[in-house]
Symmetry: C2
Subunit: 323 residues, 2 copies
């Protein structure tokens, strides 16, 4: 998730130092959406994301939505590895506010039930009065052969699921910066991790990740991890009718959509030969899958709008800590 | 760990509500030290503990010791289930304080190396200025047949490893409430989870847990979970020479030791027939194992001092959230 929004120097140094500790292959160099641990022929996929009051949510946000988001962003990491979720461990700072705690539990119940995920355990600790809530979740899933971010090959197409920009547009509505359809606020507040799709895609793809920080920054990370260049065509970016009704579909709107983040769609690399099967799979699951770019030898991210080359925007998405 | 030290009503209600969500057998009703999940013939043991600045540690505590404690308290939960640790996921709130962050990483490196545990991943999030640090750790281990808290049988002896009261005495020294040997402060600041011992004990015991909140409260929890009564003999409580030099060994000192918490020793129930093998194991590992009580039909905790019955103290240990 778009977790880290400050202290970039401190952060970079911290992550670089952590990376020197994460030498086990399961850690994937802290460069993937999740850790992948081989246990008796199966792959156990593990991820841990935190959300903090005042950084990722406001004290006035509906607690049920916060529970949903905490679970959903972690499950999205599992989806990106093609994993079926098994359960979660919750880390919860308990403030002396019964109504908030009860609403959080109700939201957690609804979320776990919606995704058929078990609560395995966790920890609840007292928050000193005035302390921001810090919520952590560990999600555990099982996969067969989970794709990494690093497997794209030259000539592979870059694909994305669903539509891009809806969550970011929803955030602007929630913040009252702009007016727009309530469906977009829902996309922001209750993202739907692509669990079934991720499991179905895993056998066909060379690389996969979720789009949480912005399509451009995340696509660039996949290209970097794979040691390749990637070029994206803004003209074919999948936008929803709601997004278009609110922000239009010109180049500016498309650049906006590609850098907003909070999409929780799947981004993946697949060889041309898989296109027919991927489109059949999209049809079967009722989820659009769109080819938006190509990988090539080289390095870096390039943009075009149809035939026209487009310079990269100054900001590609949210800079934050890789997981 | 002795995590929860306030809002008992809110806490009880919160945990009761969480428990209604934790219906998967792996969750063990949120009544055990860890969740235990069967994966392809093996048992995966999962635990998540948080520590919060101002609640579990002070901003002025050495960051390396905080890293140690965060890892050690989680590994102690794995030890209690006889699990061999595989790795951890870290949840870290990053404040703009390079010296603190660097010292934390150095301590984490030392701790992971000391226990030969991998860093698998995690999340780092920005802390808003002035926000208390909240650190979470998920530890993952593998076991063969992990004992629960609930398996004690009538007639079983209650055993404890090592010595009791050292961590609690160390905390009083660290807080400058009393003077005493530096070795006790070390016991408080750098607890040593009984990993090797836990794995060796698991095949011999009916029930096992770690002592984190106080021997009496934790023994009472094992008896409750097993549907039995337990009686403890204060006269045989294992005390260290350092503890005795500081606090003596009269009944008051023994009650103190039995209710202080922060021991991270193993507490277990085993049938009389295993005593010889257990004492041989203690000899082989160089860790004292002491029979301190017996389980019987009935309910509740009773105390004696040799032949004399002793009334229960008002406070048995730290009340907090079961994990």
């Amino acid at each position: 998730m778009g977790a880290y929004r400050g202290f970039v120097t401190t952060e970079s140094a911290f992550i670089a130092a952590l990376r020197t500790l994460a030498t086990d292959p399961a850690a994937r160099g802290l460069l993937d959406d999740a850790a992948v641990l081989e246990i008796g022929g199966a792959e156990l996929v593990l991820t841990h994301d935190m959300i903090v009051e005042g950084v990722h949510f406001l004290a006035t946000d509906p607690p049920g939505d916060i529970a949903w988001k905490l679970v959903a962003v972690n499950l999205s990491d599992l989806a990106a590895k093609g994993a079926k979720p098994l359960g979660v461990l919750l880390g919860y700072t308990l403030a002396d506010d019964d109504a908030w705690n009860e609403a959080f539990i109700a939201g957690l119940r609804q979320t776990l039930s919606a995704f058929r995920v078990a609560l395995f355990g966790g920890d609840t600790v007292a928050a000193s009065p005035g302390t921001a809530r810090a919520l952590g979740l560990t999600a555990i899933g099982l996969a067969e052969a989970s794709p990494s971010r690093a497997g794209a090959a030259p000539g592979d197409h870059l694909w994305v699921s669903g539509t891009i920009g809806d969550g970011g547009a929803g955030l602007r509505i929630a913040r009252r910066e702009l007016d727009g359809p309530a469906a977009l606020v829902e996309r922001y507040r209750q993202p739907r991790p692509r669990l079934e799709l991720g499991q179905a895609l895993a056998p066909f793809v060379h690389a996969m990740m979720d789009v949480s920080d912005g399509l451009l920054i995340d696509a660039g990370r996949m290209a970097d991890a794979s040691g390749l260049a990637v070029e994206i065509d803004l003209a074919v970016l999948p936008l929803s009718a709601s997004f278009i009704s609110m922000l239009g579909e010109d180049r500016e709107a498309r650049l906006d959509a590609a850098t907003m983040g909070d999409d929780y769609e799947l981004l993946f690399a697949a060889p041309d030969a898989q296109a027919v099967e991927l489109l059949a799979l999209a049809e079967r699951l009722g989820i659009p899958l769109t080819r938006i770019g190509e990988f090539a030898q080289g390095a870096g991210l390039r943009l075009r709008d149809g035939a026209e080359t487009v310079p990269l925007p100054a900001r590609l998405g949210y800079e934050h800590v890789p997981k």
